[in-house]
């Protein structure tokens, strides 16, 4: 199940809402909203009475970034926490370009005037991440035709970047909750 906790909390920030309103507002199934709300209620992030949900102070704090909110498998954190990481930026760039190589992506990740060492580190990290995404089936490596490697985005599962856990050898899709072993 995709983790929609943050989106639900954001909607509740505007005032209490019924679960069915949350479901229609976010385009989710009611079961999904019910489960997510129940989980957040157990963690004290919201209170719910007869289907009417209200955000708590703890929920507001969590929404403001005072607390980490992670979900599901535990193999990949909620990408929202890492939205400015190189991997999140690379994923966003891949969703824009659809087809890209390391040389196309690096200018979108690195700050202007980045040092040579930063660039090399970013290049190595990005190459490993793209390799993991390829093994997990998100990317397809195009034939090189004498040039550098380029990848095609073949599975665009949503705005959150897939989380690669090198130690466990997994890529968790933070949009759908699926975990791929690579």
């Amino acid at each position: 199940m995709a983790w929609r906790g943050l989106e639900i909390l954001r909607l509740l920030e505007g005032g209490p809402k019924f679960r069915k309103e949350l479901a229609s507002g976010l385009g989710l199934k009611r079961d999904c909203v019910r489960d997510t709300c129940a989980r957040m209620e157990r963690r004290g992030l919201l209170v719910s009475v007869d289907g009417l949900c209200q955000i708590t102070e703890a929920g507001k704090l969590a929404l403001a970034g005072g607390e980490d909110i992670v979900s599901g498998s535990g193999l990949g954190g909620c990408a929202e926490r890492y939205k400015d990481s190189s991997r999140s930026r690379a994923w966003r760039a891949l969703r824009i370009r659809r087809k890209a190589g390391l040389d196309d992506l690096l200018p979108l990740l690195l700050e202007s005037g980045a040092s040579r060492e930063d660039e090399l580190r970013a290049r190595r990290g990005l190459a490993r991440y793209l390799d993991a995404l390829t093994k997990a089936g998100f990317l397809h490596e195009l034939s090189r035709r004498g040039g550098p490697a380029r990848w095609l985005l073949v599975r665009d599962s949503g705005p959150c970047a897939p989380a690669w856990n090198k130690g466990r050898g997994t890529v968790a899709d933070t949009n759908t909750g699926e975990v791929h072993h690579v």
């Binding site: 229609s24 385009g27 200018p107 202007s112 660039e119 705005p159 949009n175």
Partner: protein, 248 residues
Amino acid sequence: MRRQFVRTSNYERFLAAVSAVENRGAAEAGMMLVHSQPGYGKSAVVERWAVDTQAVFLRANVDWTPRYFLLELAKALSVDPRGTSEQLFNRLLAVIATQEINLVIDEAEASLSRHAVVLEKIRDFSDRTETMVVLVGMETIQRSISRHKQISSRIAQVVEFCPATMEDVALTCQQLAEVRVAPDLVAEIHRQSAGRMREVMNAIATVERVAKMNGLAEIGVDAVAGMSITHDWQTRRPRVIATGKRAG
């Protein structure tokens, strides 16, 4: 050749326009237009901004209908695409408004066909959510949009990307070339490329290769005399630097 983002004068003007739209007086005028001839770096700048701000980036298609556009937007935002267009529109409005997501429409000319019905739908999102919409197109787009008063009145800023200046080319050479490019060669690259960033990048790759092959730490016009460093895209011929040429 190094790979990093160069903050050119076009990028600085783009950021200034974004800031002006964010601080606009009329809440409903949340649209911005970016246009130029090809090769001046529009896409690189707007893609960078979209990555930085987590904006949704869509490329308009000639066969876009309002429904097709809504489906593409739903896919980009991971919103359930089922139901009527009205239900989908309201669902998308909720997500865009609560998360304050900016929207970029590249090749926006394509959204102007069929009496601009798709662009009207895009304007609806901007009006109701007060989030920013950046339209990107070729040099003729401003004239085409001006025919639709309802839309053009919502455009708070227009940024025309200009040819790269000499300072832009010098900065690009300094940041991206792994050898020092002498001022005379910077001037020659600027002249030959006519300020097209694509040509500048190709020229840097070429001069860098020549410098490395000859073991040079700094490269000037003399070292590339008789070679082609850019390509004339109008005549489809390489431009060759004359032997003994001195750039002014």
